[in-house]
């Protein structure tokens, strides 16, 4: 049993590594995501930066940037496999759950890279510094886990359909809405310097959401992956 679970983890990591290598060769997803985030950030800075928006609004805008940027690139994980015809080989070489967690980890790392770039720029451009860095980092990490967990299966679904880009956003938004509500709430608390008690309800919601969505997606993934 231990050897089996070890090989399961290493196989998932191999899928992630494969995606990272191919991402470094083409830089398709990361370019799209980062440029999209920069454009959105610039638009927001130009339009509301001069109006000195409140911290509540800024925390919502921060997640609007991350949400739309991730919508522009996350679907690529599966669309590329289908387009280049490598999906079939991946299907033959390992189980669905391995592919799911491998791709999810890849999407998570993609979003992590994105937020490492976006967070400093956001702080500099919009002049807002989190008073509670632990809470802020926690919110971002948990939010990214939820984002990648819920959208990986949607990316797999969308890769089988036409009009993929638009469909991905349309399908993701209702699924991600509870996550966005919770994470915006926590980010607001971290900006305004509230206590942990203020953030405890949305934190519980966020943890529950992440766990439930990842479990559900991994259970349903085989139905999408092996048609």
């Amino acid at each position: 049993m231990p050897t089996r679970s070890i090989s399961w983890v290493s196989k998932s990591l191999a899928v992630t590594r494969k995606d990272i290598v191919s991402e470094f060769r083409t830089r398709y997803a990361i370019n799209a995501i980062v440029m999209f985030a920069l454009v959105t950030l610039t638009v927001i800075s130009f339009s509301v930066g001069l109006l000195s928006p409140s911290k509540e609004i800024l925390s919502a805008l921060f997640w609007v940037i991350l949400f739309f940027a991730s919508m522009s690139g996350l679907a690529q994980a599966f669309i590329k496999e289908e387009e280049t015809g490598t999906a079939m080989i991946l299907r033959l070489s390992c189980e669905g759950s391995i592919v799911f967690f491998g791709k999810m980890l890849f999407n998570f790392l993609l979003l992590l890279t994105l937020s490492i770039l976006v967070v400093p720029l956001f702080i500099v451009f919009l002049k807002v510094v989190p008073t509670d860095w632990t809470l802020f980092t926690g919110a971002v990490l948990m939010g990214l886990i939820g984002l990648s967990g819920a959208t990986t299966i949607i990316a797999a679904i969308v890769s089988k359909a036409s009009v993929q880009g638009a469909l991905f956003t349309v399908l993701s938004f209702p699924v991600l809405l509870p996550l966005l509500v919770a994470v915006i709430e926590i980010t607001t608390v971290s900006f305004t310097g509230g206590t942990y008690a203020d953030a405890s309800a949305p934190l519980q919601l966020l943890v529950a959401y992440d766990v439930i969505m990842i479990t559900l997606s991994s259970m349903l993934f085989d139905f999408v992956w092996r048609l």
């Binding site: 819920a150 949607i154 679904i157 699924v175 509870p178 949305p202 529950a208 959401y209 349903l220």
Partner: protein, 228 residues
């Protein structure tokens, strides 16, 4: 059998509509926001919202069944339930907006979680139908739309049940208008009678339309087969 359904629903619905407008308003004038007569919409708005959520749950059940059995019949049922769900959700949204305008002063309020959640429900249906129209192969379509409707259902559970509990300030909807905190029905006998008849009639109406739509869908499918 089918004739009886029609007659019962026709008579029942008529009785509900007539008695909703002829009896005293369900709300005492002293407690009401705006004119007390406005509250008669309660007899229709709540059953419509109930049927919309019933359709949503039904389509999730059939989606799970489809994934278990791969029987295309269940796909048709889930699709039909969703189509009717859209209809009732729109009707519930419109009556809810009218009700909100007359009592709270605005047609739409983004901080009102139930209004937002019916809107999200419509977005969910929109996503479901967009996905269906984007896939050409019937088997793939049935499979993927079943998966997405299960994911949507779980997200909707968060929106409808978890969020309002956490953010109590979000909702102006009374939580004790039908059942109070101790589980007792809070309505007077007349109001209770009309409300539950309306609830039953709307549910019957839903199942009647549902049944008809399923039969139409089956006929269409058979005809297509014969044309081949």
């Amino acid at each position: 059998m089918n004739m009886w359904w029609k007659i019962i629903i026709f008579l029942g619905m008529s009785a509900v509509i007539v008695s909703a407008f002829l009896t005293a308003s369900p709300m005492r004038a002293a407690n009401s926001l705006g004119p007390a007569d406005v509250y008669r919409i309660f007899y229709f708005h709540v059953p419509q919202a109930w049927v919309a959520s019933l359709a949503f749950v039904l389509s999730m059940i059939y989606s799970i069944r489809f994934l278990k059995t791969r029987n295309m019949e269940y796909d048709t049922k889930a699709l039909t339930a969703n189509k009717l769900g859209v209809m009732f959700a729109i009707v519930a949204m419109v009556t809810g907006s009218i009700f909100a305008k007359m009592t709270w002063g605005e047609f739409w309020n983004w901080s009102e979680i139930r209004e937002v959640s019916v809107f999200i429900l419509l977005l969910i249906y929109g996503g479901y139908f967009a996905l269906r129209s984007a896939i050409a192969d019937p088997d793939t379509r049935a499979n993927l739309s079943a998966v997405i409707s299960i994911i949507f259902a779980v997200a909707a559970l968060f929106l409808i049940f978890v969020l309002p509990r956490i953010y109590s300030v979000f909702s102006q909807h009374p939580s004790d208008s039908i059942i109070d905190k101790s589980g007792q029905i809070t309505m007077g006998p007349t109001v209770r009678m009309i409300f539950f008849s309306s609830l039953i009639m709307f549910t019957a109406l839903f199942f009647w339309i549902y049944n008809l739509s399923i039969r139409v869908a089956r006929l269409t499918a058979n005809k297509l087969l014969e044309n081949k």
